[in-house]
Symmetry: C2
Subunit: 419 residues, 2 copies
C-alpha cells in the first residue's frame, strides 16, 4: 500500500523544498520531490495546520539503551565512585524485565527526539531485541563482551546465538553485532577471537577505544589493527585520546568514530580530537552514550555540542560547522553501520524520517535550516518520527506501545532498585 505525505517541507542537502511530497511504498521512499498536488492519495501525516519540515531520521551511533533505570545515578561523582560504587552495583540488580522496560523507555526518548536508528552495547539481548521489535526502531544490537572466567566464553557464544537467531529479523530492522567492551577489559586473544567471528559473519564490531586518559598509553590502534579487529565494519566509541598515529589507522581501516561529547565532558574525560579526524577524512558519527553519563538520548544536543566545543577547543570558529554536525548525526551514522539506504531523504531510501515543527520560536526565523537545527534546534521540535514508513512517535504518542503501562511497570521496579 502506498502512503503519501503532501504539502510538507523537505530538507534536501542544505536547503528546503517548500510544499514538497513524500511517497512511501513497502517502507521505502518510492518518490520524493516538489508537490504533485495529488490530493487523491492517502495523507499519512495529519499536519494539523503546522508548517512541518521532514529531515532524515537521526542515527545514535553509541548507546546502552538498557540503562534507563540508571539515569542520573552517580551524577557529579569521581569516575571510580561513579562506576564501581554506583553503576556496577545497580547493574547487578537488573533483570530481564528491567532491561526490557529500560529499552522501551530509552526508545521513547529517542523516538521523541527524532532518532530512528541506534547502535547498542549491553546485556540480555533477548530482552533488548523484544523491546526493539515491539517499539519499531531500527537497531544494531551488540552484546557487551569481556574476558570473564566465571562465564567461560559463554558471552561470546550467546552473542553468536543471538546473531543466528535475530540478525536481519523484523523486516531487517534488527541487526546483531559484537560488542567487545574495550582493550582494557578484553585480552588480545579474546579480541582476536571476536574479530574472527565478526569477520566470518560479516557483522558489526562496536567497541570503546581510548575513552579515558588512563588508556592513552595502554595500546595503539595499530596493535588492534594487527589483531584483525578492524577487518570488519567497526564503530569505535569515544577515541578521546587517539593520537595522530591512531587517527591514521582509523582512516586506513575505514573505522568509524562515535563521538559522544556530552558523556566525555560529564565524566571529565575531555574533548576528542574530532576536528583533526574530520580534516583527515575519518567517518565521525554521533552518539549519546547512556543516560547514566549524559543524561539524555538527544542528538540535537550532541550536534550542538559538537559544533560548539571543537571551536572552543581549537580556537577556530570554523571548526565543525553546522552541516558537519548534521551529517555526523545522519549520513555518517549510516556509513558507520554500513547501511546504504538510511541517513538521507532520497528515492529508494528506507522511510526513516523525523518531522519538525518549523514554527517553534527557537527556530524562528527559519532561513538557514541547518544552522537553525544545529544551533537552535532541540529534540522537542520533533512532532513525529517514522521508521520504515510507520510512525513510532506521533504528536505526543507512541503508536505501537502502551506508554502508560510501561512507565508504571518501570517505576514499580525502579523504586525497588533504589531501596
Amino acid at each position: 500500500m502506498k502512503k503519501f505525505i503532501d504539502n510538507i517541507h523537505i530538507l534536501k542537502d542544505e536547503t528546503i523544498i517548500e510544499n514538497g511530497f513524500i511517497e512511501i511504498e513497502d517502507g521505502i521512499i518510492s518518490n520524493i520531490g516538489e508537490s504533485s498536488n495529488n490530493k487523491a492519495n492517502t495523507l499519512a501525516l495529519d499536519l494539523k495546520g503546522k508548517r512541518i519540515l521532514a529531515i532524515p531520521g537521526m542515527i545514535n551511533s553509541h548507546t546502552h539503551s538498557g540503562m534507563a533505570a540508571l539515569k542520573g545515578a552517580g551524577d557529579d561523582l569521581p569516575f571510580e565512585q561513579w562506576l564501581f560504587q554506583t553503576i556496577i552495583p545497580l547493574e547487578e540488580q537488573l533483570d530481564d524485565e528491567m532491561i526490557y522496560l529500560s529499552t522501551m523507555i530509552s526508545q521513547m526518548e529517542m523516538a521523541r527526539n527524532g532518532i530512528t536508528t541506534f547502535v547498542d552495547m549491553y546485556m540480555m539481548l533477548d530482552s533488548i531485541i523484544k523491546a526493539v521489535d515491539e517499539f519499531g526502531m531500527r537497531a544494531y544490537i551488540c552484546r557487551g563482551l569481556q574476558d570473564d572466567s566465571l562465564e567461560d566464553g559463554q558471552r561470546l557464544q550467546k552473542n553468536i546465538k543471538a546473531y543466528e537467531k535475530y540478525h536481519g529479523t523484523a523486516n531487517g530492522r534488527i541487526s546483531v553485532g559484537f560488542g567487545p567492551h574495550s582493550p582494557y577489559l578484553c585480552s588480545k586473544e579474546y579480541l582476536k577471537k571476536i574479530a574472527d567471528v565478526a569477520q566470518e559473519l560479516n557483522a558489526l564490531i562496536h567497541i570503546h577505544l581510548k575513552e579515558s586518559q588512563k588508556e592513552s598509553h595502554q595500546y595503539t590502534f595499530r596493535e588492534l589493527a594487527n589483531i584483525g579487529l578492524f577487518n570488519t565494519q567497526t564503530i569505535a566509541a569515544h577515541c578521546v585520546y587517539a593520537d595522530s598515529d591512531d587517527i591514521q589507522v582509523l582512516k586506513e581501516f575505514n573505522v568509524s568514530v562515535a563521538h559522544n561529547p556530552s558523556s566525555n565532558l560529564k565524566l571529565a574525560n575531555g574533548i576528542a580530537p574530532i576536528e583533526k579526524m574530520h580534516q583527515e577524512g575519518v567517518n565521525v558519527c554521533l552518539g549519546t552514550d547512556s543516560v547514566s553519563s549524559n543524561n539524555s538520548l538527544d542528538l540535537f544536543k550532541e550536534m550542538l555540542l559538537a559544533s560548539l566545543i571543537h571551536k572552543g577547543e581549537t580556537k577556530d570558529p570554523q571548526a565543525i560547522p553546522a552541516i558537519v554536525s548534521f551529517k555526523m548525526a545522519t549520513s555518517n551514522g549510516a556509513n558507520a553501520v554500513g547501511q546504504k539506504n538510511i541517513g538521507l531523504l532520497e528515492k529508494g531510501m528506507r522511510a526513516d524520517i523525523a518531522f519538525l515543527d518549523m514554527d517553534n520560536i527557537n527556530l524562528f526565523p527559519l532561513i538557514k535550516p541547518i544552522s537553525n537545527i544545529v544551533y537552535s534546534g532541540r529534540g522537542s521540535d520533533v512532532i513525529a518520527t517514522m521508521v520504515d514508513g510507520d510512525f513510532i512517535y506521533y504528536f505526543g504518542t507512541y503508536p505501537k506501545i502502551n506508554e502508560e503501562a510501561i512507565k508504571k511497570q518501570f517505576m514499580e521496579k525502579y523504586v525497588k532498585l533504589y531501596k
Copy 2:
C-alpha cells in the same frame, strides 16, 4: 486580588514539595507551602491534568535582545569576518521599529524557555523599553556605550535621560543601567565618567571584560577597579581570560561574572575559568549573549554547558555540579542585579515563576529534580511563565501580545534587511 495555584509541585532548595500551593497578592508570593486544599480560591493556572513543577523564573544575565534579526548571521565564520563584514553592516540598517520587533521576538523565546528577567545591552532604548513594558518581562536595560567622536558624548547623555525617564517604571519591572561596551572600545577617561554617573545614580554597570584572547594583556581588572568602575553593582560578561589577580579583584569588589558558555565556544574564544571563580566565591551567573553568537535564548542550554564543559576542561567530574549551574541561572542572577526579591520561591518574593511539565520523557524518571533539570531538561519543558504573578507565556501563547502580528511585521522587515 489574591491568586491561588493549588495541587502543584514546588522546587524548594533541592527537593520537591508535592501537591503544594502558591498564593500571590499584588505580584508577590504572599504564601507558599504544602497544600491547603483551599479549593475556594482562584485557580490561576489550569493544570490541564498535568503534573507541574514550579521553579524560580530564570535570569538571563547577559544578552542583546534587539539582535533577533541577526540570528545565525555569520555562523561558522572567523571573528573579524563575523563582526566587521556581517554583524556591524547589518546593525547599521536596524531602525527603531526593528529593534522593537526584535526585542519582542527575543522575549517570546525567553519567556517560552522560563526566563523572567534579562540584563540587556544595546541601542535605541526607547524601543527596547516599549517592548519590555508591553511584553511583561523584568529587565535591566543598559545602553551600549563607546567613545565615539561623531556622537560627542551623546550616548551617555541619552543613557542618563533614559534612566531618569524609565528607571523603576512598569511597577518596578524596568530598570535602566549603563553599558560601557568594553575597555577596548572605551577610554579610561570615558569609563571613569560612566562609573561616576552610575555610582551617583546607584545604577547597574554592565560591561564586556576579557572576552577574547586579544584582551588578555590589554588591561588588568585592578586598573579598572582603580578607575572606580567596580564601585557600583557591576556585571562583567565573559571574563574568559581573567587571570588569578583579576579573579581576586572580582571577589574583592563583589563584581558578578555573567558566564556565556555557548557564545564563548561558538566564537572560539574558549572556556572561562568558572570553576576557579566558583571556588574563590565569585558570584557567577549565566547569560545567553545574543542570537548572533549562540543562537538561542535558553538558559537550560547554558546550565547544561556550564555543568559539562568545566568538568571536561578541568578533568574533574565534580566541577560545577548541577545545583551550582541551577543557582547561577536563578539566585546568583538575582544577586548580580542586586535584586533581593527574585530568584527564589519564598514568601515575600516577586511571583516570577516558571512551570515545567514533569511528565516529559526527557525528565523521566524525575527523582533528582535538579539533576534532571540541568542534565536532561530543556526550555521546551516550560509550559507557563509568569512575572509579577501575570502569565507572559501560557501553553503555547503569549497572553499580553499579538504574536502573529509581530512575527509578520518582523518577517517583512527581515526579508528587506537581507536583500
